[in-house]
């Protein structure tokens, strides 16, 4: 099934394109990653700058910011997630169609950032939803966001469509709904989703 890399290059030189369905499919997906039009704080300004002419995110096929979560592929958490906002973020994520990805942009979305010790700030969105790419910075430069997008594209290219280690969206029996936290008397209930937090880091051998 797998095409020998050397043969592939040799065939390419002769004008014959050899590819696999998986590569073609992933190439198509990575070339049109549509983000959700959704900003939370100052990082959103950098996100907007990244889409404009100077940095031009359209070069990577990611210019179509969709206002509806149904049409979006990636959710860029661009800024501080307050505890009052967190249920809405999870709800929007639930409404996105698979395959879907999350980019945590900036220190606040990753860990709460400078507002971490505040009573009203969530200490990182990965307490409730799985995050694919973390982009550090306060706020990250548009170049950093573009780098994060390229990382995401690499991740998409590496996803297998078959086999036991195929991603969640290829598994028909996985529901993919994440519990929306409720407003409690002292904090959000639950204070984190046990299915995704704490993050267990898989080291690739």
């Amino acid at each position: 099934m797998a095409v020998d890399e050397g043969l592939k290059i040799e065939m390419g030189k002769q004008g014959v394109l050899v590819t696999s369905l998986q590569d073609l499919y992933n190439w198509g997906r990575k070339s049109s990653v549509w983000p959700m039009q959704f900003g939370l704080a100052c990082c959103a300004i950098e996100m907007i700058a990244a889409t404009m002419a100077r940095f031009d995110m359209a070069r990577f096929g990611s210019e179509v910011f969709r206002s509806s979560p149904r049409q979006a592929d990636v959710m860029i958490i661009s800024g501080t997630v307050t505890k009052k906002m967190a249920p809405q973020v999870v709800r929007l994520y639930n409404q996105m169609a698979e395959p879907r990805y999350v980019m945590a942009m900036g220190a606040c979305a990753i860990s709460g950032g400078p507002f971490k010790q505040g009573y009203n700030v969530l200490k990182g969105i990965d307490r409730y939803i799985p995050v694919d790419v973390h982009i550090p910075g306060c706020p990250p430069r548009p170049e950093a966001l573009l780098h994060g997008l390229i990382m995401l594209q690499e991740k998409i290219m590496g996803q297998k469509l078959t086999g036991a280690d195929r991603p969640q969206f290829m598994k028909a029996d996985v529901k993919g709904l994440y519990p929306v936290p409720e407003f409690g008397e002292h904090d959000l209930k639950p204070s984190y989703n046990q299915g995704v937090w704490p993050v267990t880091i898989k080291t690739e051998q």
Partner: protein
């Protein structure tokens, strides 16, 4: 205009006198500010607060038509330790004869000064280009009697700011048209800006813990380990 006083035309003493002339028995107290800014303020009594505020707004000389800022202050219960000299009679036996003499002894006494919540209003005049005049009101305590009269009927701009003080300090404004939480969610029970607020214990993962955060993370891990051992 006195040096370093902004655009104040009248001193607090003069304003106090004007208020007392207009609202008899207003019960206005001067709270002096010992700092270099010397921004003294006026503490209003609850029962006359709205009348005094209306006077400050409508008086032709003051014309304080703009409420710029409402802030809350939490004064926690304070334990005061003081040394008092007490004179008491002491019976002594001198040369076999009982004598009563006065003796002065130093005693250490502790008393708890009950805390309170305070609301501070900064007023300016757009018409006269003067201000700020600072008025404040204090609640009786910080547990059950936490009401102060709302000044929203006098200055409409107080509405959201009084709601914010209600939300974060728990001051109840009587006469406020719509007293609900404004920043935190409605189900929230605590008052986060109070000194004795205990924040939720979500210190299970601190990658770069230091100082207070490190201590909290350690305490969380100890508690979690104990819970795990008990279960």
């Amino acid at each position: 205009m006195p040096e370093g006083r902004g655009f104040e035309v009248k001193t607090v003493e003069e304003i106090k006198a004007a208020i007392e002339a207009a609202v008899p028995g207003a019960g206005v107290e001067i709270v002096t500010n010992p700092g270099p800014s010397a921004q003294h303020s006026l503490r209003l009594a609850h029962e006359h607060a709205v009348a005094v505020a209306t006077f400050l707004r409508d008086d032709e000389e003051l014309a304080l038509d703009f409420l710029s800022n409402v802030s809350g202050v939490d004064w926690p219960d304070k334990e005061i330790v003081e040394k008092v000299k007490v004179t008491r009679p002491v019976t002594k036996t001198v040369d076999g004869v009982e004598q009563t003499a006065e003796e002065t002894v130093e005693e250490t006494r502790k008393r708890v000064e009950p805390g309170s919540l305070e609301v501070v209003y900064h007023l300016y005049s757009m018409a006269k280009k003067q201000g700020p005049v600072i008025v404040r009101m204090k609640t009786v305590n910080r547990t059950d009697d936490v009401a102060v009269p709302s000044l929203t009927p006098v200055w409409r701009s107080a509405e959201f700011q009084e709601r914010e003080v209600f939300d974060l300090y728990g001051v109840k404004f009587t006469g406020h048209p719509d007293l609900r939480r404004i920043l935190m969610w409605d189900e929230f029970k605590d008052y986060p800006m109070r000194k004795d607020y205990v924040e939720p214990d979500d210190f299970e993962y601190e990658p770069t813990a230091h100082d207070e955060v490190a201590a909290r993370a350690k305490a969380h891990q100890a508690a979690a380990a104990q819970e795990g051992a008990g279960a």
